[in-house]
Symmetry: C2
Subunit: 244 residues, 2 copies
DNA sequence: CAGTGGTCTAGACCACTTA
DNA sequence: AAGTGGTCTAGACCACTGT
């Protein structure tokens, strides 16, 4: 860690510098998903700081769900396969406090095309830079519930269209194949009427109401991982949020 | 703090016991909204624990937004008047990353009636126990956007129907008049078609889509503060969520 | 048993606010 | 200058996991 001297204007607490170092280890793939980190003692010695300072940085990362800590076992890089991580981003569940459903996919189609003006701006890529557009129908309990469109920058995910059938959990693919960690999302929700394509994919009648979710997924490196537009039939499932 | 001896089965970390003590101070109104707490040193001495342990409990409460800490000034009980607290629960904003609007209210009507079976269950009160039902139209930029129905247990808010015109921010009233702190909420969102009452209050046409938010507000004491059903016109405003 | 993270302490010093 | 919270250290002991 080299103990950089704090210049007065531009002061960063030590544990913050340790935190930044650790984020770098994660984004650079030095510490990979599922792996164990060195122990607190070892890290403290390597970085030339006290164990308490290392601990403070680790606690922040654990709270951000980038690390899993287990007393007696060690500290591990979080994997998005885990239930809680999956349902952090897939929030449809049976109504009235029911449990979450396990989604599957159908009628998938992936194309490569230039980004629209707005997409390029949101994804922070060059005008008309290539993106992959993935359209698919998502099912819960075997019934079509969501019509999903994903816009992902081609630069982050080279060859995404040559992978064959995509897995159910895209974020897991991003993490393991491309080293892109999705750590958060901003969503905007609104009600709309079903479009012809909504109706065809979800088996709805004309004039049926639809819940649209427009999500911008945020990557660990500070950039944007994708845009995702989900159009949901909420007759039997609701979108659940907990505010704390 | 009396330093309760930890019985082996039933072990609670010291800082957790300190935390529980502090929550009691807040729920019992010993520490009131806006007031300053004793300093860390004083608390540590009073409770017979180290400053570090007090700090750990205070940090948790600060993170839960129940306390505000300011270097050099002190630690204060959070007030729900502050912008960020208000917008923690009012999440409609101008679309496409725009700013939040400041809501006002209109056509308010409050009635007292027995709870329905389902309401009683959700609010954790006795069958047919009295509740207040508040209906009102909420406006943004002067335009009616939300038709809101609030179900609040009468036992928590005695005389709520004799207060005259209710303030815009009900949670602030709950906190200052009744000592009820709203610390979180569970929400379920779905799309629906505008009902006749929706259409009348929001000026919509038949067949217009509506975003319905069903919220259960959680109080600091672990009970339920209210049920709130918001039916929103999302043509010009969207419901914004940040997942981190 | 050794090794991990979790808790707790005591004390030093720093940064910020107020008077 | 005095008082507050914020950072950092060093060391002790506890709880849990594996071998």
């Amino acid at each position: 860690m080299e103990r950089v001297i704090d210049e007065r204007p531009g002061f960063l607490p030590l544990y913050r510098q340790v935190y930044d170092f650790m984020v770098k280890q994660l984004t650079n793939g030095v510490w990979k998903a599922g792996e164990a980190l060195p122990s607190e003692q070892v890290l403290a010695a390597q970085l030339g700081v006290s164990q308490g300072t290392v601990r403070k940085a680790l606690d922040v990362l654990a709270q951000e769900q980038l690390l899993d800590r287990h007393q007696g076992r060690g500290t591990f890089v979080s994997t998005l396969t885990q239930e809680r991580s999956l349902f952090r981003f897939f929030r449809l569940r049976r109504e009235a406090g029911g449990d979450f459903g396990i989604p599957t996919s159908e009628d998938e189609k992936i194309t490569r095309r230039p980004a629209t003006e707005r997409e390029a701006e949101v994804l922070q890529i060059a005008r008309r830079a290539p993106v992959y557009e993935i359209k698919r129908t998502r099912l819960l309990d075997g019934a079509p519930i969501v019509f999903e469109t994903v816009i992902a920058p081609a630069s982050r995910y080279p060859g995404l269209d040559r992978l064959g059938r995509l897995p159910n959990a895209l974020y897991q693919l991003y993490q393991h194949q491309y080293g892109v960690n999705v750590v958060g999302a901003d969503e905007e929700l609104r009600a709309d009427l079903a479009s012809p394509e909504d109706r065809q994919r979800l088996g709805l009648e004309e004039g049926a109401p639809i819940l649209q979710i427009r999500r911008i997924a945020l990557a660990l490196d500070g950039g944007r991982a994708e845009i995702r537009i989900s159009r949901c039939d909420t007759r039997r499932f609701v979108y659940a949020v907990s505010i704390r």
